[in-house]
Amino acid sequence: MTLQQPALTATAALARPARRKGKGRRDRGRLFQEIGMLAPAVALLTVFLIVPFLLSFWTAMTNQPLVPRPTPVRFIGLINFLRIFRDDLFWTSLWNVSRFTFWILPVQCGLAFATALLLHQKLPLRNFFRGLFFLPAITSMVVVCVIWGTLFQYPTGPLNQVIGFLSGGLIQPIDWLGDPNWAMFSIVLLSAWQAYGFQMIVYLAGLQGIPDELYDAAKIDGANAFQRFWHVTMPGLRPTHVFVLVITTIQAFKLYTQVAILTQGGPKSSTETVVHYMVRAGFEEQKLGLASAVSVILFLIVLVIALLQRQLLRRFDV
């Protein structure tokens, strides 16, 4: 072995450059091919994502107004960031979005997972029900908000009437969207209902990706239904779980439409979100610089959370 080793290395050393040369020519050809195929995507990403992102970094450090004004645009350094960090409303909005995320993750993903498991069974009319459950997800969020806004009406809206009837009048009508203690929870309810269809489809795909042989083998080994779920389904869905979790978190942090339509951030700023705060700064107060600073902060927050989640889930051997 000790004798053979150098010989081997030598042969390898001799062979390698030659092989590299031959491969290099092929590589270069392939490289051009690859660059050629990458180019459209890279160009589009650069023009529509990377450049605007760098621009927003720059804008964040100026007092750029939304529309041209007679007063000059100045470089003001980090003043916009300081102003945001000093504004209680920003911290409230960050806290609200965290609250929203904390609620929506179990509610929406749980609902999606449960329906996916149900619809993965061999039920009659399975495809019909799959379509039915997916219906809210393809309905415009704006439409859903208007409908739920009516359901939520206080004190005589349908939801309150149903609750009053079921509880025999014990539960007083709830001001779903007008009570600072309830407003965010109401938004969670309708958001989860609207959006869980997407996660459900992802889970269904994940479930279909688990080979039947594994279940058959588990059955032969004498595993009961719960054991099959815990030891075959769950491990098989790990990548799906990660994907769903990350996507849902990022979406949750971008909460805007529901708030803009139903509560405009109120009551008492209880549903103010970071994106809504940003839009208000940019469009209502017409401070594009300030709004850009918010967007930069939001980007960093989402980036950190996504990285943390990856690390955390990797530690759990996912």
């Binding site: 007092n63 107004p65 939304l66 529309v67 041209p68 004004r69 007679p70 007063t71 102003r83 209680d88 409303l89 939520f152 009406q153 206080y154 004190p155 809206g157 001001d175 779903w176 969207l177 007008g178 600072p180 509560t263 405009q264 951030g265 109120g266 009551p267 008492k268 700023s269 209880s270 208000r280 469009f283 209502e284 107060e285 017409q286 401070k287």
Partner: protein, 427 residues
């Protein structure tokens, strides 16, 4: 919005290509469905009378109007004619979007304008007229006659003997205990928390109480909006809400005339009359806004028409504005929706607002207690900051802290724009 701009872009591209003979006038406006279709018909009639002109209407909902307008500015898609909310006029003129309208419209219209209408269209720096409207506006206190009689309330005859603060709060208290009354008053929180209504309707309560949104000489908000008088006035309103006297935001805007008449009073705009009177008939009483201090105050100003500096055909744009303001069917629709006259000829034709008419009190307010919203280019920030403070306060927040934060936000904006010259020199 994107779609609208896009379709506008495409429309102008297509029309620009084929119809060189036709002049296209873009008209940006807001309004409920009734007004939208009325404008559509006016445009058709104008096109029939002027075959070489094409009127392109661009609709934007009024709660996001300023935002949509900014988007149009950014994409260099300014319309020729635009409807604008009067308090935003100073901002638009200061930013250079509007041109003086007097030379562009029929001169008999200029002579026909009421003083309040001229005031809402005039830019305070150069005293030029930049916009003109058929209508103006006001807010009154509507009452349910049966409830008011039941508590023995005094019914004011004119603006001079409006209810005082003590009377008003006493009646609210009594009404809250009256059978059938679920809420003593609707202040139309149902319009939302991000709506001009808040500054428009609640601002006069501050002015009547002896303070304001901003000092109109020094243009500083700190020391005015967070003064004791303002804190006291909004603490009073907070108390109404806390006591359950005010219709909550999520209960809609029809509780005054809804079945069973759950709300006894309504602090509502003049436009509310048509709908309420249709349902309540003789049970509706129109009263002046209460006095919250030594003098009364009421709002004014509405959506008026201006011509932008981007217009390539300002003369034709002016012709369209004149045509629209004189259009009979448009005036008819304005009357149906209890439109508040801003032109004398329209006032003469509106028995609703004439002496002895049911809304005479509202018209009387225009010349006695009306206070315009601050004509300053910082108005978008002023109103946005005040809306935020009111939401905080109505939901139990600290009044002084909320008003201080709003005042600081306003002053910060003015500082950031170097005082919006030349407003920094006006004393």
């Amino acid at each position: 919005m994107g779609n609208r701009l896009l379709s506008m872009l495409m429309a102008s591209a297509v029309l620009g290509g084929i119809a060189e003979a036709k002049t296209v006038i873009h008209v940006m406006h807001q309004g409920d469905p009734g007004w939208v279709s009325t404008y559509g018909e006016v445009a058709k009639r104008f096109e029939a009378a002027n075959p070489d002109v094409d009127i392109e209407l661009i609709y934007a909902p009024h709660d996001a109007y300023n935002e949509k307008f900014s988007a149009a500015v950014m994409s260099k898609q300014l319309p020729d004619v635009m409807e604008l909310d009067a308090p935003f006029l100073a901002n638009y003129v200061w930013s250079g979007y509007l041109q003086p309208i007097k030379p562009l419209i029929d001169q008999d219209i200029v002579g026909d304008m009421t003083a309040s209408n001229i005031a809402q269209g005039t830019y305070p720096v150069d005293k030029e007229l930049y916009a003109v409207g058929l209508t103006d506006s006001s807010v009154v206190l509507y009452g349910n006659r049966k409830y008011l009689e039941a508590i023995g309330a005094r019914i004011p005859k004119g603006v001079d003997d409006a209810w005082t603060r003590e009377e008003f709060e006493g009646y609210l208290q009594k009404l809250s205990k009256l059978e059938g009354v679920k809420w003593p008053i609707d202040t139309f929180r149902g319009y939302g928390i991000k709506t001009e209504w808040i500054t428009y309707a609640y601002g006069p309560i501050l002015q009547s109480a002896g303070c304001d949104l901003i000092d109109r000489k020094t243009w500083k908000s700190t020391g005015t909006l967070d003064s004791d008088a303002c804190v006291d006035a909004l603490t009073m309103m907070q108390k109404w809400v806390k006591n359950g006297w005010v219709v909550p935001q999520s209960s809609g805007t029809n509780q005054f005339f809804a079945e069973g008449h759950p709300a006894a009073l309504a602090l509502g705009g003049h436009w509310f009359y048509a709908e309420a009177a249709a349902s309540m008939k003789d049970d509706i009483v129109v009263m002046p806004l209460p006095k919250f201090g030594p003098k009364g105050a009421s709002p004014n100003g509405t959506w008026i028409w201006g011509i932008t500096t981007a217009s390539e055909h300002p003369d034709i744009a002016g012709k369209f504005v004149s045509f629209m303001l004189k259009d009979k069917q448009l005036r008819e629709h304005a009357k149906e929706t209890s439109g508040y006259p801003g032109l004398k000829s329209f006032a003469a034709d509106s028995p609703l607002y004439a002496a002895g008419g049911p809304m005479a009190v509202a018209f009387e307010q225009a010349s006695t207690t009306a206070v315009a919203r601050p004509p300053h280019p910082a108005y978008p920030t002023i109103t946005s900051a005040f809306m935020g403070a009111v939401d905080e306060i109505f939901n139990g927040g600290d009044v002084k802290a909320a008003l201080t934060a709003a005042a600081e936000k306003i002053d910060e904006d003015i500082e950031e724009n170097d005082g919006y010259p030349p407003f920094d020199e006006q004393q």
